[in-house]
Subunit: 198 residues, 4 copies
């Protein structure tokens, strides 16, 4: 199966999710700076979720760029990832409208954790199809970032019950770690030119 | 007519439908696990509809992969399928918000049944254009799964009036049957390489 | 300018418009057939607008298939068409929620009329770029359908003030006239093979 | 990295933003011309934001047409632009629903200003990757329009506090300046044929 439609469908879903959150933004009740400031925590949470979805799109882009074909199993691994990402607007709204209570803040982290596990499953499915000698294998290396993120999400979820701001701080930290796009694949693609051009 | 825009438009519509349902998810009234649990039936129904739309996208992907060109009639057969799929969020919300009464549960099944018939019409329109000797014909075989699904939808709609949980169980069963993507086409594409590469 | 992104963007906007109307569908207040029946006029209007947007997508597909490149002016002619199409969900909702009063029914016709004029402008802009000897010119012929539609929309808008059902009947008639996709371009493309394959 | 998915994702997000604003349009309370007229300021603001997003899509289209590949940094510069554009529906709604008070009108200008700066950053990132001898560099020239726009946005934001209508008039002026698509790139592409065809 060529990978074109998988990319187009994922682009579509992530583009919708990243913009659908704007619909959750309530128009400030008044027309003063103070009324806008009251919505600031919601706006900042929107920014955080925007960055997270941007990171996933970015990494998805790099991941798929390194493979040439996709199997039926990959299609489902990809839909599984999109399912968890589709819960991001819901958990963002629940957390931010109630101004970050413990449980919604933890649930936000659980959705992020589930999405990161779904991404690992997709990556593994692609790796299995591509083989150990593939460009993807070489590009990914030991995937330290992925492993650290999983640990940090668990830490964030736990901390949300102790101090919600600490939990949020951990989520922001993971986002900052990933803001640098996955240059490994990019570097690999540059040094080892695409098969078609060999 | 090349098939590119038909695929792109269908990808767009299904991507929107699969994510638009998130907008139907009400934020839990409270911030406790109990408040989240209260929304669980709605979340699970969202998951079911997500899987159904995922199945349609997957099968649509496989179906179109086996054809090379589309006619004007196919465009309308495709829009007809998209129309029924577009009613999935509506019937999902009606059924789940009222906690699965008989009639909305039956209507959910009717929408699924209509979508499956629309899919058959699209498949038939493509088959007629491709011919009896085509790869698509060989790939589809006797289409046992399609026929069984139609029967099961009818069963589910009937059972919804006797016991709504039985009706829902049938819908879940059909989804599980299809979760395995339509490997027939994939196998066919692998054994019989695409015409362009012959 | 290649036409790829113009097609992709138009596909995106029309796909969103055609599905966004589902969000306007109110879940029936009760769970009886009667409650669903109460929403039937809204559902039927949704069907009509779905068909109209499907017609535009279909004709847009055929129109663009016959051209090879687009100019800056064409991009704006296309955005102008998309602007009027984007008002379809708004006018559909206004007309159907109030159960088809004269003025909203006339406004629905005015939006359809404006969209059809915008389509003519786009068609003219493409024709001017392609030239009188082009495949597009040959494919479009005298465009009787387009001219009749414009007249019928005016008739429908007028009739909406006399009898709203007559006005609606005219809108349905225009949709039926166009349901047959624009075979002229298709036929032309079949008889006169694409330049690239000559 | 090929630029295909960057274009597809941006097309998706801008297509959604441009249509999502329709959801903000409230159906008029009554069914008279007067009730529709009451919504006219909202409709006209929708038109203004539609034109702005159309301009960005148009210029984005021209900008990307002149480059051949994108880097990881460009992906983020693009997401940064999309973030500010995604706030356009929110600020449009806040400004128009309250009928253009000073602060929301200024905030609308601030969002437009931030988007224009984000566009400049994206342009600069692409220019750096393409080099001083590139077609893009030649096509952009001294970018007088971009510099004037930035000044006018600042003027508009200031004027919004003195007289909101003057502020709005400045925003409309900037839109009119840009309504003419960026022909520089188009001309350049025509005179200097694409590398692939050389």
């Amino acid at each position: 199966m060529p990978k074109g439609r998988l990319e187009a469908f994922s682009d579509g879903v992530i583009a919708i999710l990243i913009t659908i959150m704007v619909l959750e933004l309530h128009i400030p009740a008044g027309t003063s700076w103070h009324a806008l400031g009251h919505e600031l925590p919601v706006l900042l949470t929107y920014l955080l979720s925007f960055v997270y979805l941007g990171i996933y799109w970015n990494n998805h882009h790099h991941l798929l760029a390194a493979v040439s074909r996709v199997s039926g199993a990959t299609l489902w691994a990809n839909l599984h990832l999109l399912f968890w990402l589709s819960l991001v607007p819901f958990s963002t709204a629940w957390m931010s409208e109630h101004r970050f209570p413990s449980i919604p803040t933890a649930v936000y982290g659980i959705v992020l954790l589930a999405a990161s596990i779904a991404y690992l499953i997709l990556q593994t499915a692609l790796l299995r199809a591509e083989g150990e000698q593939s460009r993807l294998r070489a590009a990914l290396g030991s995937d330290v970032k992925g492993k650290i993120s999983t640990l940090l999400y668990c830490l964030g979820i736990g901390l949300a019950f102790a101090d919600r701001w600490l939990g949020l701080a951990v989520y922001v930290t993971v986002a900052l770690i990933w803001l640098v796009p996955d240059r490994r694949v990019e570097r690999q693609l540059t040094t080892a030119p695409a098969e078609s051009s060999q």
